[in-house]
C-alpha cells in the first residue's frame, strides 16, 4: 500500500473525532494489552447478561 499517506486527515473523520472520549482511551493506554482484553471480555459478559435478563423479563410479562 505504498500509495497510502498515513498522515492524511479526512475532514469527515475529523468531525467524528470531536466526540471521542479521550479520557477512556488514555485510561486504556495505561493498561497492558491483556488487561485491555480482559476488561473487554468482562464488558461483553455484562452485555450478554443484560440481554439474557431482558429476554427473561419480556417472556415473563407475556
Amino acid at each position: 500500500m505504498s500509495d497510502v499517506d498515513d498522515d492524511w486527515r479526512d475532514p469527515v473523520v475529523e468531525v467524528y473525532k470531536r466526540d471521542i472520549d479521550r479520557t477512556l482511551l488514555r485510561a486504556n493506554l495505561k493498561l497492558t494489552v491483556t488487561e485491555r482484553l480482559q476488561n473487554a471480555m468482562q464488558h461483553a459478559r455484562f452485555a450478554d447478561e443484560l440481554r439474557r435478563a431482558g429476554r427473561e423479563l419480556r417472556a415473563r410479562s407475556r
Binding site: 497510502v4 498515513d6 475529523e14 482511551l25 471480555m41
Partner: protein
C-alpha cells in the same frame, strides 16, 4: 460471548500462522469499543490450512447465520475453495479472513504487524496504521466512529507506526 483467550490459545497451540484484526486488534491498541468476535487473517499455505482445521475441529464450527442442519464439512477443502469465513463455534464467533481490503493477505501484512502479549502468549496483531488503512479502505459509513477512535488512539499514543 466470544472467548478470545481460549480461541487465541488454541490457535497458538496448533501453531496457526495468523494476525489478529478487527475489534480485538483495536482493543489491544487501546480502543474502548465493545468486541463481538475474533477476526484473524490466516496464511493460506496448505500446512497452515491443516493447522487451522485442527485448531477448530472440535469446536463445532458452523457458518454464522446459516440454516441449521446444512451438510457443512470443516476441512482443508472448504478453506482452500473459499477465502473469508464467519463461523459460530462453541467458544464464540470467529471470522477467518484470507484477505482484507487495504491490506491484502497474510504475507502482505505480517512484516508490519505488531507482536503483542495477549493473555499467556504472543500473538501477531495488525498495527494501528494497518488497522486505520483497513478501515479507510472498507469505506463503510458505520466504521467512521471506529476510524475516528483509531486515529485518536494514534495521536494519544504519540506514534504513527503503532
Amino acid at each position: 460471548m466470544t472467548d478470545i483467550e481460549a480461541l487465541l490459545q488454541r490457535l497458538n497451540e496448533n501453531q496457526v500462522e495468523f494476525i489478529v484484526a478487527g475489534g480485538v486488534a483495536a482493543l489491544a491498541h487501546g480502543s474502548a469499543r465493545l468486541m463481538h468476535d475474533l477476526d484473524i487473517i490466516y496464511r493460506r499455505s496448505p500446512q497452515n490450512l491443516d493447522r487451522l482445521v485442527l485448531s477448530l475441529c472440535d469446536l463445532k464450527p458452523y457458518p454464522h447465520g446459516a440454516l441449521p442442519g446444512l451438510p457443512f464439512l470443516w476441512n482443508r477443502a472448504i478453506l482452500k475453495h473459499g477465502l473469508n469465513f464467519i463461523l459460530d463455534t462453541s467458544l464464540g464467533l470467529i471470522d477467518l479472513l484470507g484477505e482484507i481490503p487495504g491490506g491484502g493477505r497474510y504475507e502482505d501484512l505480517v512484516l508490519e504487524s505488531a507482536e503483542l502479549e495477549m493473555f499467556s502468549g504472543i500473538s501477531k496483531c495488525l498495527s494501528l496504521d494497518q488497522l486505520i488503512r483497513a478501515k479507510r479502505a472498507a469505506g463503510r459509513p458505520k466504521d467512521l466512529d471506529a476510524l475516528a477512535e483509531l486515529e485518536a488512539l494514534r495521536e494519544e499514543s504519540g506514534s504513527t507506526h503503532g
